[in-house]
Amino acid sequence: MISWQHSWKRLVLASILALIMPIIAACGSAPETSTAPAQSTAPAAAASPAQNTEASPAASVAAEPAASASGQGTTAAASASGAGTTVAASCPEGFPNKPITFVTWSNPGGGGDVLGRAMITAIENQNLLSQPVVIENRAGGSGAVGMAHVVQQPANGYTVLIVTKNLTLTPLTQNLDTDYQDFKPIQRTQLEPFFVAVRTDSPWNSLKDLVAAAKTENVTFGGAFAGSTDNMMFSLLADKAGFELTYVPFESGGEAATALVGGTVDAISASPQEVAALVDAGKLKFLATPSAQRVPDFPDLPTFKDEGFDITLEQWRGFVYHKDVPDEIVECMDTVLRQASQDPSFQKYMEESGLANGYLPGDEFYALLEKETNENRAFLEEAGLLNQ
């Protein structure tokens, strides 16, 4: 054992050093867009070709539906090790020259997170960018944390924000300095329908039954937090149909679904993906969707309009930049994302998750953001949720 016979000063010095060093290190990297996750891709890229050679003989032995997945994997690995030479034609000279970050306010495994990861896989498969793309989860505050973060990043095109309808809600309900006007939309990418679900053994077989019951007896509704699109859907329905809404907010779709099956609430709003397993298990049934058209996977499921309620609501997800990012970079990213969306892996993900292609170019997307923000303001004011 080392004898350590130094004075008190050493201890103090060590403590001070301990405090100062990481701060210096942190300051160095803070202004740049997140170097930490970028580094994590380096071992990933290095490791994957090696593992692929290990994995491919196994793929042929295992009778898995993953034969095609493994094939894609090989190309992905090849493109990663080839360090990417093809760059989308429309990109300005020298962009990108460092890794790009997709920021999402979803938690890992959430809708925006999965979209980002699927997009990254597709970009790698198609070899569309000469630099890797990494995902960064900045969850919290219904998207507020993610929005506030991206607005503070340099407008150089290396930080992309994955947005949802919350972009038109959260700035109104929270005390934020940020709203849709601080961003330059790249594109809207996908649409996800909402469904109204009830227990299989409930006496209601249509939205009309449910509404009729809500007028005469105690029916409890559930969905995401107060001021969310789920809340909005049932509020609008209550308004149009003329019943008093009892709405229980939940943390996640899974939690709401559990409460529905357990009998705490009587009807919920959920995305089909969140509750698919429960529907398969025969615990839940869908009554209607507020989508504009019938959902292809559920051709027999009526829309709210079919049932006589003039309400249209859909979740969407898209990509935006800081508002000061140059137009040519925005165009470049739009092209990259559009080409990546054509990749078979991405198509497969969209289809299996019950998502629809919701492509809108940047300018139309911006108009939509403006329109929805105004509509939401009216709803939130009535619900008393508007931040003054």
């Binding site: 403590s15 803070a30 539906p65 219904s142 105690n218 943390e251 357990g262 993900y349």
Partner: protein, 515 residues
Amino acid sequence: MEAFTGLMGGFAVALQPANLLAAFIGCLIGTIIGVLPGIGPVSAVALLLPLTFGQPAVTSIIMLAGIYYGAMYGGALTSILINAPGESASVVTTLDGYQMAKQGRGGVALGISAIASFVAGTIGVLLLMLLAPAMADVALSFGPAENFALMILGLTTVAALGSGNTVKALISAVLGLMLATVGIDAVSGRTRFTFGFVELLGGIDFVVVAIGIFALGDILANVERSREQVNVRIDYGGFRNLWPSWQDIRQTFFPMLRGTFIGFFAGVLPGAGATISSFLSYIVEKRVSKTPERFGKGAPEGVAGPEAANNAATAGAMAPMLVLGIPGSATTAVIYGALLMFGLRPGPTLFIQNADFVWGLFASMYVGNVMLLILNLPLVGVFAQVVRLPYPILTFVIVLFSVLGAFGLNNSLFEVYLLFIFGIVGYVLSKASIPAAPLALGLVLGPLMERAFRQSLIASRGSYLVFVQRPISLGILVLALCFMALPTLLGLYTKRREQRQGPAGTAEMLGERKG
């Protein structure tokens, strides 16, 4: 029988060289990453998700499960060695684990923790195989009212954490509950106590608070002690003491078993299953023990039970996720997302259409546990050397890791400042000899409890009867009541017996002496 053949098929899949390699790499990377206090199992799995793409679904999921186990173990490592719990489920491990490390028994604590994880993982996988469908239904019967009752049960453990002084433990727990109110309130959608900081909208991150009050608080408290007092921790009994002895293992075997069952059943329930189960396991061990006064001072049972519980909770959380598509914890949510990306849809059909996959996963969870044991037992000695470092250097390492961990949460300095603030809070708490663990518990349970309470009342239209009308909720509340009342009743009972027998006993003794 069907399960048996299924499992054999599963092992055939899991033992393929590529899958074994995936399990090994997963466990190794998971352990390394889990050692960074800011990166718990959730971030580890999320961070390394891309690494698994381009491989068959089974291989990827095996690797993810390996990363998860590895990170859980890595979390225990930092809890024991440097008093920095990387996630809420390993807070309890610091109570006795860090004390053991201070006494030079860090290696023993690490070994016990590895063995406990192995035992819990093994039994947990068996329980999962046999009970998955039934357990998934149990998860469904847990609505807000039941969750609230469960949180109350969790909070009753506070008294046991306070090493005697219940009032101080309660002060700490209430502080934790108060901190938990920061951020957006999900029920009303309103912001509370954020003072204009956007970073606070999502609430105060648990990891920052835990590392601050435990690790930094401890360092600050040591600064004012003299060198001799601080350096006592370097003293080692000898090389052989690095590994747990047979006696240690015998002593902790039943705590491991109890922890496993508590962990599995609590893990099935959505929400804070792993955390609550680790606290519950600790309180159970303390109550069962003949020498409860050793707890909080380096009792190996206090490490074995909770570590087994948080590992078994992992297996438990898989049940509702695989059967019903309801992820019971943040990490299973990530794995759920990964499954969807591989085109596998969790649900009853998964067990039929992708039986290979399901059994392969179960088998590989087992293989992963064995792998973790093989990987970590030899390394226990190496890791335990960490505490032999001269204290000034060790301090440096701990602060460095803490700051890196806090910074890594969001890549922002805000968390680092918060970390320092909570370091000072931890120092003040230790000066006032207020235990820190109840604060951590309050912070984890607070948001869940408040939300469940308000959800129940909205749904019942304001009737408080909802908590006692639902049988499961009532049962848990009664259990919580027993937990609270038991020590007092027992105390009364023994006192009365002493009163009855005491005088006679002394008289006899006196008589003997006289004679």
